[in-house]
């Protein structure tokens, strides 16, 4: 049960409060996870991010910065947010929840049915993180979002301040498979690639797989970039090769494997179509 509610006015203060609060202290942004029935987080203290002015969306020289406490709905209503991200934001099917859930919060949760993580990884999004170093000094760093997912423990206690997207010449598309709009997804998968030349490069494929977490399909990425696959089906065949998949309420492991495979084929095909049409989304 939450025993203390801490208001802060700056990222530095928030991080300090998190540090001082010790175990059981959590940031609270939109609240859709911390207070949610069935949440695995059971905080004793919460540090509110409301007073930090971390929401808002800006664009400068083709770089879009989205404040971490920007809600899904605010992002959807912004003309600056790329269409592919809006597609992922709409995977949260409830308008009311979209008005509460924050983009930073969704990333920080690292859920295995994450709405946004696959798309942001495919988009090569970067995160601006605030942190307090061991010498007690506040600092900020700019990291690729894939690192945030790959080195979870390293960023424990960091505060996501912004999500940064480089807009031009990148194809990004995603697919989600859930029984209803609001059911947990068996698989959410996204593929991103630089399509400024005749062949896709700088490919990123990431999937949020229920029971398995957020994973990158690095072998497939490399295979596509190295031109190893004569057909999209060849690329797809590699998709679920090394993944550990489980049966659960969203579907069997066999279903997830099939869907991953079919999705990679579909997204890769869309990517090639985009190249053949000569433009990025």
């Amino acid at each position: 049960m939450i025993g203390e509610f801490i208001r802060t006015a700056s990222p530095q203060e928030s991080l300090g409060a998190l540090h001082d609060g010790g175990e059981g202290t959590h940031f609270i942004g939109g609240g859709t996870e911390i207070l949610r029935l069935g949440s695995l987080i059971n905080p004793q203290k919460v540090v509110s991010l409301k007073g930090l002015n971390l929401s808002g969306i800006e664009e400068e020289k083709g770089i879009v910065s989205i404040g971490a406490t920007t809600t899904f709905q605010e992002a959807l209503e912004s003309e600056l947010v790329p269409r592919y991200l809006k597609e992922a934001l709409l995977y949260c099917g409830s308008y009311t929840r979209r008005n509460m859930g924050t983009i930073g919060g969704n990333i920080a949760l690292r859920r295995d049915d994450s709405y946004l993580a696959p798309t942001l990884i495919a988009a090569k999004a970067r995160l601006i993180l605030g942190d307090i170093a061991s010498d007690g000094k506040y600092g900020e760093e700019n990291i690729p979002i894939r690192e945030y997912h790959s080195f979870e423990e390293h960023f424990e206690g960091s505060l996501i301040l912004k999500i940064v997207l480089n807009k031009p010449k990148r194809f990004v598309a995603s697919l989600r498979y859930a029984r209803t709009m609001q059911s947990p997804a068996a698989v959410t998968i996204a593929l991103g690639a630089d399509i400024s030349s005749d062949a896709p490069h700088d490919v990123r494929i990431a999937a949020a797989i229920k029971g398995s977490g957020v994973v990158r399909l690095i072998e497939v990425e490399n295979g596509i970039m190295e031109g190893r696959y004569p057909t999209v089906e060849d690329a797809a065949a590699q998709a679920a090769q090394d993944l550990v998949l489980v049966d659960d309420i969203t579907g069997s492991a066999a279903y997830k494997k099939y869907i991953l495979t079919a999705s990679v084929a579909e997204l890769y095909k869309q990517c090639l179509d985009a190249i053949s049409k000569g433009g990025a989304q």
């Binding site: 949610r36 509460m100 609001q182």
Partner: protein
Amino acid sequence: MIVRCIVNGKNVEVNVAPHETLRKMLLSLGHFAVRDSDDGEGFAGSDTVIFNDRPLYSNLLLAAEAEGATIRTPDSLATGRELNVVQEAMIDAGVVQSAYNAPAAALLLTWLLEKKPNASRSDVAEVLSGIFIRDAGYEHYYLAVELAKEKLRSGKYSSTIAPEFRDHLKYVGKVKPKVDGRQLVAGWRSYVEDRVDPNACSMVLLRSPYAHAYITKIDTSEAEKMDGVVTIITAANCPDVFYMSAGQGNPEPSPYDRRLFNWKMRHVGDRVAAIVAETEEQAIAAREKIVVEYEVLKPIFTVEEAMAEGAPIVQNGAAEYLSGEPEGLAEYNKGVDPREGKIIYPFPLHGDNRRNIASRATGAIGDIEKGFAEADEVIERTYQTSQIQCTPLEVHLCYTKIDNDRLVIHASTQVPFHTRRIVARVCGIAENKIRVIKEKVGGGYGSKQDILVEDVAGYATWITRRPIYYRNTREEEFIANSTRHPMRITVKMGAKKGGQLTSVYMDVRANTGPYGNHCLTVPMNACSKTLPLLNCPNIAFDVTTYYTNIPPTGAYQGYGAPKGSFALMTCLAEMASVLKVDPLEMAKINHVERGFMLEILKSLGEGREGTPVPVGSCGLRKALDLGAKMIDWGKKEVCEDPNWKVGKGFAMIQQGSGLPGLDHSMCDVVMNTDGTFMVHSGGADIGTGLDTISVKCVSEVMCVEMDKVSILSGDTDNTMFDTGAYASSGTYFSGGATLKAALNLKEKVLAEAALQMEEAVEDLSLQAPGEVVSKKSGKVLPYGELIHQAVSGLGRGQLVGYGSFATEDAAIPYGAHFAQVAVNVKTGAIRVDKFYALQDAGTPINPELALTQMYGAAQKSLGHTLYEDMALDEEGRCIAANFTNYGVPMISEAPADFKAVLIDENDEFGPFGAKSISEIATNGAAPAVANAIYDAVGVWIRSWPITPEKILREMGKIT
């Protein structure tokens, strides 16, 4: 900590705890219409508020976050008695039914129209995407917004709300505001939770973690010492009374196999103990201190496991019979373990609990073997339906107290009189010591036909004399409530080459779970509400129901019919496919029509011999013809994307209107001392508009406006007996009783007027706005004057009409549901693009409510067909015990083209020609969608839910 904010335009300053949610804070400020349907899941939307001009779930926001905020709650919309335009439009569109989150929906739509006065359909869909509507469906919410826009623009509606029926009637068959619509949409006090005394005790239950186990030891001593604890009830100190939770006619066709608390646990979530304390926190803290030791037994979860030789026995107690005791019972009961309790049969249900059989039934007409021999084709298919939760937005709850040394139960129930009877049995007291007050019911759908919480709370209050509030959590709704029985149904069907059926056999194996409530009647319904659709001369069925350790089952809208319909109608389509006959033609060849004698009903009584009756009013053919035209039957549709294949399907459906020969309803109508009217109906309006039907009946007969008629219903102290709201009985039985009472009152009014006016009764009639007129003299006597003279000193007393309705006549509603689906051959994804529900409800007394009930029921059944799944793990724990994981359909799952059509077919028996409307609408989706999927991609999916994975497997893409 202190929070300062603005709530509904007023500055407030509230001291809140750090963990307190915004909803809790708003409740403390008196905004009780901010309700809770999901315990903070952020799904159902009953807790929606507008926070800094954005809709938010108040359960997911800490009160502390409200510092400086501006908040609007649903109770801000009405100004005194005056509703706003959206609230009025929602009532007029017919979406205010059980209405638990209607105030929240009104708030959202009001906010939307403030932002976008020309809000589009997609705007409405977006804003309502976070609110769960189970009763009325979403389609008429779009209409409500259109109506509100029209009213705001021009001061009046221009859209047609619903078709109207019977030109000669003024109220019946006309679109009129639901009589309780205002209080429900405004969020005025209506529900059980609104009646609870702030000082009432709280009760929580300790539940079994095991699906099958004996309690070997239970120690409550530490818990009893905890602060605030009033009492703890367990198997050790509860009455040794066996009873049945099913609220059915007495004698119940269900075994008495429940006790308040048992020594044997039969499902995860079974009751171990009830803890009553001064506060909920104290009750929960005490629950933690109860020490229970279990001897864990092997559980069984499926019919197949229950049937297996040497299977663990779920109900292994001594069998007793109140009548019809079989021979050899003493031998049968030898050596039973007393921890198993007992099973008392009010009359034989042909159960055999040593073999996990709760009940059995069988019946036949003609000679099925001869019929199969005569057939050109015989097929046999097995279909499986799954366990489905009713998911009413208002959970099961009750408030019990002592008043005048009697037990008073404020209940959210479909069966107030059965509740009284069953609680009386549990408490060991007579019925006159109990008053049950049915409050507004925030969704029942059958689950509130069972007495699931009133028994334990009532008993606790009776022994402690303390007022007690009990409320299920949403998880408890899933694990310890009543649900649709899973069934395995095998259909064997024989037919001639041209499509004429020669023989049909149904073998129904139902899974009743741990207890036998409705164990005979729900599975029988799978036959009795489907087989009589067919004019086949040779029909037989076997029904066997098994005990297992799944969460409890019971009644759910449609009862057994949706499952039987899935099996029988899909098999009919499969037969058409085998014969290469158009399924629609096959249906037309084989369906019954007016006058066909339903001999099969003789075998389909509820535990006793039924009465064959001829088919009466029947709009089935009209529904088939119109539905086929609407969906362009026979035309193959093609998607632009070659991965999507389109198919069409349909199903014939029927239900009943109450239980002729079993149900009974009573009503009285009193003329008040100013010439207005008070109706006292035993019927239980659970949001469907039954009270409005009663008021319309009285208005029609007495020639007065509806606002001159008020109604009190479902209060066992103040209304006469009614079997309750189940089996689609409301309109036919309870409405029928009101009509009889009104006609009886009319007779008395005319007789009294004849005396007062010194005229002959034959010369008198009633006319608007509420007076007696003589066609002979032209004299007029207003009701106000008539009643004043009747009750002022020397008169003959108050005028009261009495109506008792019971019948052997059946008013069977018929219909057909059509679906057009698109199936993605690569992913198995299914999209229901079109769904047309066409139903003959006789005279729809409330046409707009009839339509919305059809939408709601059809959407529910689409949920059962495609999404909803009470998945259990290998230990019997429900792993989908919340809305999100369970998968109820929301507005995003509603078909893009969704139409409900009322087929006009007057009935000779129902009040003003009315039949039932709502339950039947749950029967069509599963077979219609299954048949459409076959039409699209050539695979039959014979089990619920029909998921993409199942389609991919049937298509051979997943092995």
